[in-house]
Amino acid sequence: MCLAIPGRVEEVTTEDGLRIGRVNFGGVVKRVCLDYVPEVEVGDYTIVHVGFAISKIDEETAEQTLADFRAMGVLDEELADEEAQFARAAKAPQSNCPDGSCTEIGKKLLN
């Protein structure tokens, strides 16, 4: 829920008074609001949470983090489109804890 994913800014435009960037997350490109990171320009890396860039980071850190998040399986989850999210929900059991952390804790406590 609170993960921010690093990506590379490929283009910056202005839409309805907002600074909007096209940000590439290891192949998946999303529209991202850059209003909170005025210092970020095309070619820079930034970490993005729910469509908003919140911090500039260096390329090496970004690429490492992207690789780690991909290995941990969180990248696909964070960047899934609407169709994929509904498809996942259709298979998922009801849960108060969508990321499963609490369920895993529960299992761990009992085993």
């Binding site: 993960l3 921010a4 952390s101």
Partner: protein, 375 residues
């Protein structure tokens, strides 16, 4: 540890874990308050790498888990209305209210959409002037700037058909509440890295001083977590209680000032109920007076919500002494302090919660045999 052994830095991780074991001379309890960190700790087996004396305690770091059932019920009631487009992040779809969840509301004809950004919901409002578009804004400080901007943009564009259902909670007041609770055993905190990327960590030194606890700003990746834990243990062993930043590549002391400026304009601090914990003073945000017109709770005035906790719950029997907590079929299965089905598990002083916490240190078999303990 299934994944960490293949992790690119597996060897470094093992070395860090050995270092933590070397510097540890006493038992320590360290809490993280971030679902992402909890997930990473469990998934990567980091707690299993640590010496037995260092225990990670998983705090209320999941914003969905602490959202009161009543608010989930309100979301479901609004989403089911005709001429409403109800937008949310995907992870809310299967969160159960008293009756059903958002995915089921969609199945019954409700217009429920998953968006990537709250700004996508604002776009939907622009494109659908004959519909009310509601965005379910659930989250900690990390998510709040995005939700704040959506309301700010909606106001600037004069949109009458966009509103935000706000469920925002704040980390520092939760730390204060946990440390102030009678019987608290937590001795140090890992502060959530991405929360701090927005808020900085200027709010934490007063907490470290007041309670004499180390607080280490920590990231999510295995090495980040091990480094955060190592630094916390080092402070504990030395009898220090400072705020340290172990996530310098992302987090600054001041945080993101642009985002904080927007938060201060759009939101104001309020007391807030945390499911499973109770009301924590000044621990949430609501829309400020200038933006109150965009509050979905005000706009829809959902009345008559009868929040009913689960029928699996036998709290009444437990209270009457007819059933011991561990004899309840839901105990520690569907029902835990984090996902309480009833009042006895909701309150930290409730019999089931106390029993559960005691039972943490027992195996499932021992737990079942320990039925004679009075809660």
């Amino acid at each position: 540890m299934k994944y960490l052994t293949e992790f690119r830095n597996g060897e470094i991780a093992q070395r860090m874990a050995r270092e933590i074991a070397l510097i540890t001379t006493r038992r320590w309890k360290i809490m993280e308050v971030c679902g992402g960190q909890t997930h990473s700790i469990i998934k990567n087996g980091i707690d299993q790498m640590l010496p037995a004396a260092v225990e990670m305690v998983h705090g209320p770091g999941c914003p969905v888990c602490v959202t009161p059932l009543e608010l989930i019920d309100k979301a479901l009631a609004i989403a089911a209305q005709p001429r409403v487009i109800f937008c949310s992040f995907g992870d809310m779809l299967r969160v159960p209210g008293t009756e059903g969840d958002l995915f089921q509301v969609k199945g019954r004809g409700g217009d429920v959409r998953v968006v990537y950004s709250p700004l996508d919901a604002v776009d939907l409002a622009v494109k659908n002037p004959d519909k009310q578009v509601v965005f379910f804004g659930v989250g900690f400080e990390t998510t709040a700037p995005a939700n704040a901007m959506s309301v700010h943009v909606a106001k600037r564009r004069g949109l009458k058909n966009f509103s935000l259902l706000v469920s925002h909670v704040l980390v520092p007041p939760a730390i204060e509440a946990i440390m102030s609770a009678p019987g608290n055993q937590v001795q140090a905190f890992l502060a959530a890295g991405h929360v701090c990327s927005v808020m900085g960590y200027w709010e934490y030194p007063p907490l470290a001083d007041k309670f004499g606890i180390p607080i280490v700003v920590t990231g999510f990746e295995p090495l980040d977590l091990l480094d955060g834990i190592r630094r916390a243990v080092l402070q504990l062993e030395r009898g220090e209680h400072r705020v340290e930043n172990a996530y310098e590549r992302i987090v600054t002391y001041a945080g993101n000032l642009e985002a904080q400026k927007m938060l201060a304009e759009v939101f104001e601090v309020r007391d807030r109920a945390w499911r499973g914990i109770g009301v924590i003073p000044n621990s949430g945000w609501r829309l400020s007076a200038a933006y109150r017109a965009f509050d979905a709770e005000e706009r829809f005035q959902i009345a008559g919500i009868r929040t009913v906790e689960s029928p699996l719950c036998h709290a009444g029997d437990v209270l009457r002494g007819a059933l011991k907590p561990a004899e309840c079929p839901a105990f520690a299965k569907q029902c835990t302090p984090r996902h309480p089905l009833g009042a006895t598990m909701v309150s930290s002083e409730g019999a089931c919660a106390a029993y559960f916490n005691y039972g943490r240190f027992l195996s499932a078999e021992e737990l079942a045999n320990a039925g004679a303990v009075h809660g």
